[in-house]
Symmetry: C2
Amino acid sequence: MRLALAASLLALSTAAFAQETEEPPTPASVIAASKTEEWKAVDPADLLVMDLAPDAAGEKRRVVVQLVPPPFSEGWVANLRKLAQAHWWDGTSVYRVVDNWVAQWGDVDETKQLPDGVGEQPDDAYSVPAPTQVTASGAPLCFQAEPGAQSPQVCKGMLVFRGPRSAEYAAYWQGFPFAGSMSPHRSIAWPTHCYGSVGVARSVGSGGTGSELYAVIGHAPRQLDRNIAVVGRVIEGIEHLSTLPRGTGEAGVYETVGERVPIVSVRLSSEFPDAPRFEYLDSESESFAAYVHIRANRHDSFYLHPAGGIDVCNVQPPVRRVSGE
Amino acid sequence: MRLALAASLLALSTAAFAQETEEPPTPASVIAASKTEEWKAVDPADLLVMDLAPDAAGEKRRVVVQLVPPPFSEGWVANLRKLAQAHWWDGTSVYRVVDNWVAQWGDVDETKQLPDGVGEQPDDAYSVPAPTQVTASGAPLCFQAEPGAQSPQVCKGMLVFRGPRSAEYAAYWQGFPFAGSMSPHRSIAWPTHCYGSVGVARSVGSGGTGSELYAVIGHAPRQLDRNIAVVGRVIEGIEHLSTLPRGTGEAGVYETVGERVPIVSVRLSSEFPDAPRFEYLDSESESFAAYVHIRANRHDSFYLHPAGGIDVCNVQPPVRRVSGE
């Protein structure tokens, strides 16, 4: 049994161990050395908590989704809040699972009436107006929440990775990965499709409502960027989706009702007192900058050839649970 | 139920359907329109067939790995052939599964004696000497199998994607994704870590033997490139690894013997007559070039914004089964 193969990004529990060694920094040791004030609370109103029916062994299956912050996908996120408050997803199911692609849930029959005020969103809102330039220091300008708003303010954003075309970049902001393109005429930014990203399933010619959602369970399908609304990311329990049996029907839909995984409830975390609480490592913090750098430049003894770079989806912004179950 | 979300790359069965429409080309329609002579047989001697114990419902679980062609990872691949011929893996197990990372198998206790001639390989063989230039047409020069061999011959390679640094590229060759870097002093190439790639687990300071293997079941961990030997890729049955319960022990190792997934047998396909036969879409074919282009530039009605590019791990070279079970 050879365990030297580096463990998952999310295995933060090994951080203390890593610190005891005299190795160069590792992602885990950077997290372990981070300061308390570098962690920001996730607003409970930004957490969707989905409880699936227990598994065959009777074990609980809880999936926690952090909603993407404004100005991204605001219409859909507003819908999601209404759907959760109406307990709309209760009794629906995970009905489609495709390997290296997505697990999808909602009302498979599309017969359930949507709550008042939950409507289709426009398909030109997958991206938002964004900075028209990146500062010399590498910091992006702030987002404009609305077209026509005042000119962007300068703010400290996180690491910006310039693409092969200089007008393109990838970055982290408020705990989320995103990408953008700049031009004198139309500069935009959008949340990226990475492992664990949650998006809005839709039909051709429709922007979707958010009632049908999917989580990415494979290699980042970046070609979906700007073609589907990304509304959040799974920050706990992705394994309850990624380990589900793959559907054998058309497009990976489960062929029988019995295969569907019942959704017991979906709630905003703010709705119940014992809900889990989470913190994310501030995208503007020194520790996050160091974390990204080390992910791209491993010098600990296992690594003979540091990569010297890393793609935006290969750094999952660190999240930790601070309470609840 | 909204199914417009594009299905998996591997859902080739929908190809005929796609062709019936008047849509612009899709990956599926390109495959459907490919010519018979564009598909090449995978040599049965290059297929490792791993049968896991049946699942809880009694269903067979077969995982088929195509070995990487020379000159890549030759020492390890030679070991794998010997291990399979010795039936060495029979009775071992899948003992470690980490979400968005790897499923790993072999002799968890490391007590089983290796067959004669199966030894540690040097950790400087993760990459091989490679073309020192890329032709104007974008085709790479052929690989040199050995340092000091005759100067590279010109051959038709597949699409070459130049990286941000002009000395770097990614490409496809003989059905495998790879990457390379060029310099006047030392030009190298290596197989990439993508979803489904199979690599050699190893300890620090060791190149490993190949007796402990892992398959990638998440976003491409490209930082492992040139740090671990890639020996193949899963071309069928990856779901039997990707859906396994995640391990809860250190580094994702199963905590109890009962959690381990028994390996019934691992055989070279050439060893048994009714083994599955496969073909891959020739990396040098027009259809594969079109396939990659369409993956990067979707113009069918679901896509509002073709990406204009795609990363090497977001194109799984197409494979199809032609016989066997």
